[in-house]
Amino acid sequence: MKPIQFILLACVLAALTKVIHSYQQRRMRTLNFLFWTLLWIGTASIIMFPDATSFVAHLLGIGRGADLIIYASLLMSFCLIFRIHLMLARLEQEITEIVRAIALGRLTEAVDSRGGDDK
């Protein structure tokens, strides 16, 4: 193996350790844990056996293994960005619910303390 492969493998190992740690700490759901574990194991396999990507690339009609990795990475990045978008939207919704609950909690007070002349 070349030095770059060792460096990349060390990074993948660090990421995998973090995934396992998060799952043990119950900060990650099982489905997410499986997804990230498979992803990093897949990445490690590609680092160790780069020629395997060429084989898969040929099967899919893509010229080089490196191209396959770029295409797959791009696709995965888009999926992740979309997931983050949805997650942010959900968070925004939750913040709105909290802000709304605070406002509505003061409804009776707001009706009673109405200003103006036509109370």
Binding site: Q93, T96, A103, G116
Partner: protein, 236 residues
């Protein structure tokens, strides 16, 4: 009969006014609605940094405050919930930027009080004379987008002047928080099989109200959020 109508307006119609930094117009809007005999007004101060809340309070509105700015959809959702909680039979939504004419409200209420409709949209496009052409084009694009995403055609999908029966309002689920809420409300009328009508209204265009509307940039953001709202509807 007229007396009965007046009574109905006094006691059962609640007007929801979402407001964000509208100190220049909020007093006039509330006074205009009062002149129409509409006294149950809920102003949702959506985290304004100016004197909108104080002015609304002084004018006798029921004032609810969002501690953070949540956008038009968030404020409308809060206002509609509050109106339902207060026992409203008809809920009217009315913009705080002064672009709506309070004289149009009785026309909006009529189809609901007669039992002909559950939701009435005040359409500025049924009689667009005097509407800036950029607004006409922007509204038309918004109508097409609403049609493509939610499969229903309206002449003014972005109108802020609407009336709902309480049953209709209770069935609608507002999830979006920005200006895309207008299209979402249209979508909800379809989803809940509500009877929808449009009545012509005249918008009052001033430099101020035009500056408060959707710019090209905000329009693009709204489009993006509408697409996300559509995806969420499909995935939920």
């Amino acid at each position: 009969m007229q007396r009965r109508e007046d009574d109905m307006i006094d006691k059962r119609v609640v007007v929801v006014i979402p407001a964000y930094n509208e100190e220049r117009t909020i007093t006039g809007v509330i006074r205009g609605l009062h002149r129409q005999g509409l006294t149950s007004l809920i102003v949702i101060d959506d985290g304004s940094s100016d004197h909108t809340a104080e002015l609304a309070f002084q004018e006798g509105a029921i004032l609810l405050r969002h501690v953070l700015n949540r956008g038009l959809g968030g404020a409308l959702g809060t206002g509609i919930k509050a109106a339902l909680h207060l026992g409203a039979e008809v809920i009217v939504t009315f913009d705080a930027d002064g672009q709506h004419n309070p004289n149009d409200v009785p026309r909006l209420l009529e189809p609901i009080t007669k039992g002909d409709a559950d939701v009435v949209i005040g359409s500025r496009m049924l009689d667009p004379l005097g509407m800036p052409y950029q607004r006409c084009v922007a509204n038309w694009i918004a109508n097409v987008v609403t049609y493509l995403l939610f499969g229903t055609w309206t002449t003014d999908s972005q109108s802020g002047l609407r009336a709902f029966s309480s049953q209709a309002a209770a069935r609608m689920r507002i999830m979006t928080r920005g200006m895309e809420v207008s299209s979402e409300i249209i979508a909800e009328t379809v989803k809940n099989r509500l009877r929808r009508q449009e009545v012509p209204v005249k918008a009052i265009y001033t430099d101020y109200s035009l500056s408060k509307g959707q710019s090209f940039h905000v329009g693009l953001q709204t489009l993006m959020r509408l697409i996300l709202a559509k995806v969420r509807r499909l995935t939920l």
